[in-house]
């Protein structure tokens, strides 16, 4: 479903990605872990071209993203993204946040989009928040709305960029539960996270990134990383 070949990305003189190669299968849940500065967020942001790679190729369903930059807006509709800082639109209600893209980009009518939005709000457990503004929600609620907003475009893949890192500890669970449910429904997910418990329980595969490459990987069957290398062991000792 996603194939990444020899991905390189620099910011000025700083080389962040130094040749990332991986394949992500349909319905797979891949958790990306690693120290800050290891390139994991940059890798994730390359997958929907929020960052443009300097070198390498990204294929989604066999279509090269970099060769189809003109169609990027259409291709991005297939890839939902959830951000650390939520990035809800503060001037719109929860309902408007969720329905804006389906109405403007998919040509849904307002009532179709709202019906779908209500379904999604039920799914993330916030059916009564539809007419609230984001500033009146807690962090956990904001993130659940952000997930619903991304799902409203019927994406084939969901990218999560440290979705629980900006949350108070007591709100982490509610967001992880929604993500777990999504994984159980068969959504293809790439999750950059520090939540090792979640990674272990939900992730089909764990990628450990270091120094701009995928340094170590726990295979599908194992469901958890088997620290083959010293660096991975050190990192896991620190976070567990």
């Amino acid at each position: 479903m996603i194939e990444v070949v020899n991905l390189h990305k620099s910011f000025g003189d700083l080389k962040v990605l130094k040749g990332v190669n991986t394949k992500i299968k349909k319905q797979e849940v891949v958790c990306v872990i690693g120290a800050s500065g290891s390139g994991k967020s940059t890798f994730l942001r390359c997958l929907n071209l929020l960052e443009e790679p300097d070198e390498g190729e990204i294929y989604i369903d066999g279509i090269s993203l970099l060769e189809h930059k003109k169609d990027i807006n259409r291709l991005r509709q297939k890839v939902g993204m959830v951000f650390q800082q939520f990035n809800l639109f503060p001037h719109m209600t929860v309902m408007e946040n969720i329905t804006l893209a389906p109405i403007k980009l998919k040509g849904m009518t307002k009532s179709q989009a709202e019906e779908k939005a209500m379904e999604l709000l039920h799914k993330v457990g916030l059916p009564d928040k539809n007419d609230q503004y984001p500033n009146h929600l807690s962090g956990g609620q904001k993130q659940r709305v952000a997930i619903a907003r991304a799902l409203a475009m019927d994406p084939e893949i969901m990218l999560f960029d440290e979705p629980t890192s900006a949350l108070d500890p007591e709100m982490v669970g509610e967001v992880l539960n929604v993500m777990k449910q999504l994984a159980n429904e068969g959504m293809t997910m790439v999750v950059v996270t520090h939540e090792m418990g979640f990674a272990r329980e939900v992730g089909n595969r764990i990628m450990f990134m270091d120094e701009g490459i995928i340094f170590d990987e726990g295979p599908h069957e194992q469901r958890f990383i088997n620290p083959q290398k010293e660096r991975t062991r050190e990192f896991l000792d620190k976070v567990l």
Binding site: F89, A101, A146
Partner: protein, 227 residues
Amino acid sequence: MNSIIKVLSDAIYYNLIREQRYMLFVQGLGISLQLTFYSAIIGTILGLFLALAKLSKIKIFERLATIYVDVIRGTPVVVQLVIIYYAILGSSSLPKIAVASIAFGLNSGAYVCELIRAGIMAVDKGQMEAARSLGFSYSQAMAYIIIPQAIKNILPALVNEFIVLLKETAIAGYIALDDLTRAGNIIRGRTFDAYTPFILVAAIYLYITTILTWLLGKLERRLHESD
């Protein structure tokens, strides 16, 4: 006591009543307000385009807009006014108020450009990323997500710019346009009294700017209601 009343009533009579001189103030105020209104419209539209040019990825637009803003902000508005009136539009048959509106509008545009640019830049960059990740194009993201939020940052500063503009139009007399300040000067010429007409002129400006400032305060409170 009687002499004070006599001085005041004389001042009012000679500066306002005689020859219906108050009409000069009324007409002058009308000109000042019209001039402010037209130049505010020109300045806002020009400023919006300049701001978009400055934020544009197309280098030539960005360069041209930057040069324009630097030239306008680096030279006195009164010099710009006389250059446009005597040199650039000297041979045209446009009415003076139109020429002055263009001059003040071109000047204000440079300042409005910076207000709008700052207002857009102040919107968190995650908003653009979230919009793009949903599949919106850059211009759709600007229209639906960024500009509606930027307006909240821009509107109060824009009203403030209009207040500044009203006061700046006081130099329109340089091209013999009979605005409020020049009305005061005409009356001074007839009555040989410098105090009364100019203090009246100042009071009228103060009155109008106070109203605008009050409206600005109301507007700011309205805009922050959804926070």
